[in-house]
Amino acid sequence: MTAGATYTPIATTTFSGGTTYTFSSIPSTYTDLVLVVACSSAALETMILRFNGDTGTNYSWLRILGSGSSASSLYLSNQSAAVGGFMDNGQYVNITNIMNYSNTTTYKTTISRMNAPSSYAGAFTSMWRSTSAINSITILGDSGGTFNNGKATLYGIAAA
């Protein structure tokens, strides 16, 4: 059974090294986007997201984290990227939902579920202070780490 045209792969890439990847020419025909990144990295670092190549301090984010022994939360404004989760030397998976990504009226918000089972469980919310439609998403580590042994896939979800 196919559950309707609501979870459509837009693009995918396989990683065996490489420090960044850009999903470009994202069509505006969906309502929401889902980005799934499942890889490993050499060391623990933050996986950041940039929209439409914007490297300005136009992002803010909040996180909740569990380390296996304690819980914490952090908020930072005027950042140069959104956050999609953590990368670590275990096999991790970060799942980011980007809502209403193609509208040209509102700032864009995201929710990311971060799963780095060797390090942390948690979630990030991010905001990009731009009314532009998102037409590209770049993923990279904030310390320049590599994406190994995995994949990244961008899906589109249509409300109708």
């Binding site: 459509t8 792969p9 984290l65 569990g66 296996g68 942390y120």
Partner: protein, 168 residues
């Protein structure tokens, strides 16, 4: 444009006799990711029961980190094979069930298998739980079966639905 994809693999609804386990077997390797959506209640004589995952019949080489809120505080811990929590027979409001989501990318690949789990257990009483769950099975085998179990048994009307998601 690629084809739409979120395809039902199998669905289970527990009958009147209850069930000690919920099993998905012969999972095809034709998808990229798996998504499991569940709603559970336990017959355990407690107000909550924890649910555990078994992959390919294995209960070893699992690790976990979870972040949990109980309505008054947040905490974190590690419980191998932890999948989620659900209301149980004693102390939780009748007819309340959990709501859980498991996402497992690259389940048929040769890398270790990581998964993301969200679970909520709320029964109009205290404590209630919401948890974010990061799990890892340190095994390179493709996943062909998935089982869920708990201290008690799954009661009637518990449901589990497994979907396959393809990236092509």
């Amino acid at each position: 444009m690629a084809n739409p994809t979120m395809t039902l693999i199998a669905s289970v609804t527990v009958g009147s006799g209850g069930a000690a386990t919920i099993d998905f077997t012969s999972i095809p390797s034709t998808y990229t990711d798996l998504c499991l959506l569940t709603s559970f209640r336990s017959n355990r004589a407690n107000n909550v029961d924890d649910i555990y995952i078994t992959l390919n019949g294995s209960t070893s080489s699992f690790s976990n980190k979870y972040l949990q809120g109980n309505g008054s505080s947040a905490s974190s811990g590690s419980v191998a094979r932890y999948y989620g929590s659900c209301p149980a027979a004693s102390g939780s409001t009748t007819s309340t069930f959990s709501n859980d989501l498991l996402y497992m990318p690259n389940y048929a690949g040769s890398a270790y298998k990581s998964f993301s789990g969200d679970t909520v257990m709320e029964y109009n009483g205290n404590p209630a739980y919401a948890a974010l769950n990061a799990g890892l099975w340190s095994n390179t085998a493709a996943i062909t079966s998935l089982s869920l179990s708990m201290t008690g048994s799954f009661v009637q009307y518990s449901t589990a639905t497994l979907y396959g998601i393809s990236n092509t």
